[in-house]
Symmetry: C2
Subunit: 605 residues, 2 copies
Amino acid sequence: MGGGSRRGFSGKGRPRQGGPRPHQVHPPREIREQNTNGNGDEKPIPPLEAGNIRIIPLGGVEEIGKNMTAVEFGDDIIVIDCGFQFREADTPGIDYILPNTKYLEDRQDKIRGMFITHGHLDHIGGIPYIIDRIGYPPVYTRKLTAIMVKKRQEEFPNLKPLTIHEVEKEDTIRVGALKVRFFSVTHTIPDAMGIIIETPYGLLVFTGDLKLDHIEGVPTEAEEKEFAYFKDKKVLFLAADSTNVEKAGFSIPESTVKKTMDDIIANTPGRLIIGTFSSQLERLMRMVEQAERVGRKILVEGRSMKVNLEIVKHLGLLKVSDKTFIGPESLESTPDSKILILATGAQGDEFAALMRIAVKTHKYVKIKKSDTIVLSSSIVPGNERSVQKLKDNLSRQGARIIHREQMDVHASGHANRDETFWIHQKINPRFFMPMHGYHYMLRVHADIAKACGRAEEEIIVPDNGAVIEIQDEGQKIVRLKEMAPNSLRLVDGFAIGDMQEVVIRDRTVLAAEGMFVIIATVNPKNGRLRKSPDIISRGFVYLRESQELLQQARIIVKKTIEDTTHGQQPINFDFVKNNVTDAVARFLFEKTNKRPIVIPVVLGV
Amino acid sequence: MGGGSRRGFSGKGRPRQGGPRPHQVHPPREIREQNTNGNGDEKPIPPLEAGNIRIIPLGGVEEIGKNMTAVEFGDDIIVIDCGFQFREADTPGIDYILPNTKYLEDRQDKIRGMFITHGHLDHIGGIPYIIDRIGYPPVYTRKLTAIMVKKRQEEFPNLKPLTIHEVEKEDTIRVGALKVRFFSVTHTIPDAMGIIIETPYGLLVFTGDLKLDHIEGVPTEAEEKEFAYFKDKKVLFLAADSTNVEKAGFSIPESTVKKTMDDIIANTPGRLIIGTFSSQLERLMRMVEQAERVGRKILVEGRSMKVNLEIVKHLGLLKVSDKTFIGPESLESTPDSKILILATGAQGDEFAALMRIAVKTHKYVKIKKSDTIVLSSSIVPGNERSVQKLKDNLSRQGARIIHREQMDVHASGHANRDETFWIHQKINPRFFMPMHGYHYMLRVHADIAKACGRAEEEIIVPDNGAVIEIQDEGQKIVRLKEMAPNSLRLVDGFAIGDMQEVVIRDRTVLAAEGMFVIIATVNPKNGRLRKSPDIISRGFVYLRESQELLQQARIIVKKTIEDTTHGQQPINFDFVKNNVTDAVARFLFEKTNKRPIVIPVVLGV
């Protein structure tokens, strides 16, 4: 008897099928110069020599997201940020991508603390999935970030409580033999900060995500004051945000967006619906304040936005009357011109408030022709079509749409090229490593560092898992040829772990080609079928209109099995199944030009 | 005995599983105001009354792509364009999306001709899949387009030969009772034209895709001359390109791109690799000419680009020496500064030349640090990540990259807002219908028409399948409440036809959640399992690490079957399978937070 289950488990033995179809774009995985060390065991990483400083970007330097960096000196490791990344087109079905933290897991005893720059998910999202694996180091961050981390942690009741130390900007934290300081940076959420680690050879500076507050390209006094800290300091090393370095000049300052939004909130005649990210917390706070000022009542639609606004109200960062907020039951009784609806979902996410409003599935909010809808957001790459659908569906109902290509209703939280140049000049580091971005962005950032006077050998353009060391008492920076483990780690349902290529590959093929399972019962005595084979197929062809194809497939299965088993005693079921797979796959491809995953189950009964 | 095959065919009866996971963006299908008529049989379309003109956009007004319009007057139907669209994220595995041509199939006898505006796939790509269904009407188009249509048709040897009439811009073609004329438009491929249909009530004008040639916002004399045709004409109706109407001002003229590219081709010190679309035929021709002028030898990489360049050389549209082109064998012997490689794949398509070069799988071309790579293209929405990978992989090898955000190395072929305004003023139609674009773009275009003096009731913003009529001897334009059939038609392997929601839905679920097939053999006499059930799973969890989960699932299957069959005689296999599906699906979701498609096969043997 030869059950088909073993086959189902291993994924081995089936022919290479289901390659991508012509004329379709499939981004291949990144090629890397040094990336043979998927699991960290091919080339063991040498122990850190006394006096050397080791810096390992565990995530965030081959993508935008999953930011996490380890800094190691003597007996101490400090971790900076712990983010995740949302799934990509080439990782279907998974929830999140995590930094690979195996290097830290193997050195838990050395980890003295985790420092979090700000409360966005690409900097805090990995904590619930990772903290348990690295021994619950204490978390250091500012007040708002601390609350956001705690809030998220509540969704994981199985985890131990975190040790969180709230820090102030002026604090100096001693962790192990190291001292850590902070500086304020401008981003899109309060309490964003950069991190400074003091070493005997100079400061290590990590900017986190940042931009500059400025007026027409002249940074404000507040920025000048903040960055003046570095004036007479010896900065040994800088790691800085690369997200927007490809963009020329200075970014649009949030003050410009505030002016635009203030005007829209004050002067829009009908109902005003603003879609934005809940992570744009600074802007949300300013919009709420302006609505109160001009007498608009606010309905907040979207759980994450509600949570974030409650947090800043609770902390006293946002001071508005509770009466400024209304529930959906008050929509009818409030004049349209006095309504502001703040909604999540400006990315066209199917389940977020704005899309539900757009496709008329929202419980309370129906679009009126007199509505004005502001998309106060950029389009996250990959969401272009979703946002198009959102605009199409809203405009179909006659609403007026204002988006960032028409007015300054959105600004990014990351520094453009000229701001980045200014930051480099102020911090003036000896060595530089670009981070927070795709490889090409890091290269562009490296060119900016060169324009600021860095030599080629003073810059390292890293990969995830690159082991970078500052050696010779701060005299040189090198990248070891060894890599820290850097294979992809995924959150897939409840499963957290290394990406299983076979699962992802199967999903990709199933999505494009579908599956075709054959169940045949064979008399083991004579090798003949007990009955016509059963076929189960999904995602392949429309079966109702393919009865003839199925009938022909059944005949091929029967003939293949009986030809193969003819004279065979005992029957070699593996051989039978291989022949069935080959014959059916070939037949289906000839007839349909598709290559479904073919799985034969041949039962000897 | 109760085989599982029936279940596999119908897709009925299984629980609603595998919904999308949280935190992921899924663009829902468009909602439509009037779209109940998926198959055209709910509300029959009334026959066309004598004297009325009927215009039906069959595709291209809810998307960019699959452009096709039917114009009906008296006993005659004229078809304009016959494009396809590439697949979308919500149609996994399919090859192309076609316009729904059922309206034409039902009225084949009236079709007098198909007029093609230009040779891009979103205007000609549907012909091989559609021409057979609508009775092979004669095709009218200009010389280059005619050759491109013929070339494509060669790949479909099963089809009858096309009847193609080459037309000149000055021709007047009589088809049925109608006369058709043409006007030249500026696009990105030679021989692009707009179409003019003469009716007793005035001209119907279809622009096709177009932009204006201009110098700093002043259209050239050639454009002025071309559009002067409309000066004293009575234009009853205009349908015009909406692709770029959201963009302010005038588009970058191709002459600016030419200057930039001429300079790059003349002055780049090392090897030059230019990635662009093979459809950018005008630009390709200008680059080839410049390379010859400055003594660079050209290696063309990419089949479609080779074919297109051969066609324009053959037609005498491109006059260069054959010696300007080299084969890969000459790369080594040619000085780097004398090499230009023209390559397809600037969108990051895995199999196109440029990506193969980037990921080091190209047979001949290896990147050198001294190479300059120009991406002379825009990013088609949805390809952002692929293009990022392309740039990452190229820059990782040290090449210099120039893209459109740095220099004018690309311009779109579609008119911006101010150009569109100019076109409206020149053509000055009585009635207007925006086309070629997503719904929101059409709305923006309608606003431009209003700014040019059209009244609300003189404009129709259509959907695919909208039946628009000009009635009362040209006095009014209306949209009937009936719709022409407009359900999605797909090319999926060799299958061409209506989208089968169940297949696409299964693919989407398989991609995100995977599948879980259970095979149980039951003794029909006592309802007990003959042996432990077999399980086949793909794309769900990593099975090698999930043995315990599988073991528990087997126990649940056995218990569910034996509990259900206990005392049952004969056994109700459908009931058994439903219970197994429910129990296993619930168990798997509890344990993994995933909802694979669960398919039970229960065999009575």
